[in-house]
């Protein structure tokens, strides 16, 4: 238990580095690392969303490319994040941009798969009646399919964001000084620094999950919450529900 006390002490107070010289630890140092961690994760997530949501909406709307959209997740899961980052370091090089690119690749599959599935799950009757009201394809996507798919899209964003925050921990391997720095350069920060970083990373991941979970609930259209809300959440790979349904 003493180790944890030391680690928490490390978060709040500066120490002299075991390697000598520099001061490490303390709130300003931890915040610096946390900020870099968040910045990297945020950049990667924004780019991944900008690429995969429009693609998923379009593929879902035209009902093609399902094989690609569904299998993106399966392939993405099979590639270890450490291997992906190592591949980028060895072949493309270190640095913020390269690493962000690697994290984008990591973040795309769940968002793409969930966006596609979300659009395909939209009740065809709703789409048909929108078309009958004279909506164009673009209007159907924007006003019917996107709102009804939002819970699933956010489910995908949530999975990706937690994964990106977790993976940003090994960013120091590619020269970006995130919260992983005390974990990987233990000689500079000491054991208590490493444990402190692990605690902050864990809290950051849980906070990401909780905040995005709240956003996901907030964007769920009221009609979906009332009836079949559980079904949507289950498809989002989130909470199971208590209702019994026939197999789909």
């Amino acid at each position: 238990m003493n180790d944890f006390v030391d680690a928490i002490e490390f978060i709040f107070n500066e120490h002299e580095s075991p390697a000598g010289g520099a001061q490490v630890g303390g709130l300003s140092n931890m915040w610096e690392l946390t900020w870099e961690h968040l910045e990297l994760s945020l950049v990667a997530m924004l780019i991944a969303c900008a690429l995969s949501i429009p693609l998923g909406l379009w593929l879902g709307h035209i009902g093609k490319g399902g094989f690609l959209a569904i299998n993106a997740s399966n392939v993405g899961r099979a590639v270890p994040s450490l291997a992906l980052i190592a591949f980028f370091v060895a072949y493309i090089g270190v640095g913020f941009t390269n690493l962000a690119l690697a994290l984008v690749l990591l973040a795309i599959p769940p968002i793409l798969t969930n966006t596609y599935t979300g659009v395909r799950q939209v009740d065809r009757d709703a789409v048909d009646s929108a078309r009958g009201m004279g909506m164009t394809g673009a209007q159907i996507v924007r006003r019917v399919e996107l709102p009804l798919a939002l819970p699933l899209i956010f489910g995908g964003i949530r999975i990706s964001a937690v994964n990106v925050v977790a993976t940003a921990t090994i960013a120091p391997l590619a020269g970006v000084v995130t919260l992983g720095d005390p974990i990987i350069n233990v000689n500079t920060y000491g054991d208590e620094g490493r444990l402190a970083a692990a605690i902050v990373v864990a809290l950051l991941a849980v906070a990401t999950e909780v905040v995005l979970g709240a956003v996901q609930r907030a964007v769920t259209p009221r009609g979906l919450k009332l009836e079949g809300g559980g079904r949507w959440r289950r498809l989002a790979f989130a909470l199971p529900n208590n209702r019994r349904e026939a197999p789909t």
Binding site: R77, A86, I183, A202
Partner: protein, 234 residues
């Protein structure tokens, strides 16, 4: 950074220009492939043990929660929290408690797969049609017989789907198990991350392992659920 990249030297750079340029060198790979064999099997062991323990715990929880519905929310929340904690953080959070080594890695990996398997087993059980269960009860099956002879077999497609997700995810996370002192292919990647040959072989082996285990579970699923094929063929 320089301290970080000055990692364990795993090769002699002097003779071969391809190797000294950190290139992709088939000859070096052929000569040095045996150094990846042990980490590969460590990786297999980590994955199989973690998924097996996780499956035993999570499927038991799911079967219990299937009958006692009030358990679903607490179990989901606890396993969900474990699932959210990044495994690299979990390795170090466990270090003061379980020490360095295989056990720490296994505990972290198991805690990660619990949610995946729990949810899929429960979904599988919930998806068993009510009429089928009624027919079973009508034949005089007790609750226990119904579970083993009707509900669990019919839940197998979802159960196996959960296992496949769990296995491929665990192969990926086990590449970080060396942080807990449990070896695996990640240790090789980490040792020389700028050397293309090393990264491709160690990373490639991890991807191949995930694909092979995934395919193996799929084959087992086909073998033990012959009725799903009959439906597909119709």
């Amino acid at each position: 950074m320089s301290a970080l990249l000055a990692q364990v030297e795993i090769r002699d750079r002097s003779e071969d220009t391809c190797v000294s340029d950190n290139g992709f060198c088939p000859e070096w790979i052929a000569d040095n492939f045996d150094r990846y064999v042990d980490p590969f099997f460590q990786h297999v062991l980590l994955t199989v043990v973690a998924v097996a323990i996780g499956f035993a715990i999570a499927s038991t929880l799911a079967v219990v929660a299937y009958r006692r519905r009030w358990l679903i929310n607490p179990v989901t929340q606890v396993t969900g929290a474990l699932y959210t904690i990044p495994s690299i953080a979990a390795f170090f959070l466990l270090l003061p408690i379980t020490g360095r080594g295989f056990v720490t890695a296994i505990v972290a990996l198991v805690s990660y797969v619990l949610l995946i398997i729990f949810r899929n087993v429960l979904t599988g059980l919930d998806n068993v049609p009510e009429e089928t269960k009624d027919a079973g009860r009508g034949m005089g099956l007790t609750d226990r017989q119904l579970l083993w002879r009707v509900e669990l077999p019919l839940a197998l497609p979802e159960v196996m789907a959960g296992l496949r997700i769990a296995v491929t995810t665990t192969v990926g996370l086990a590449t970080l198990a060396f942080f807990a002192g449990a070896g695996g292919l990640g240790e090789r990647i980490f040792e020389d991350i700028v050397f293309k040959s090393n990264v491709v072989v160690a990373g490639g082996l991890a991807v191949v392992l995930a694909a092979v285990l995934d395919a193996a579970i799929l084959l087992v699923q086909r073998a033990i659920t012959p009725w799903t094929r009959a439906v597909a063929a119709r």
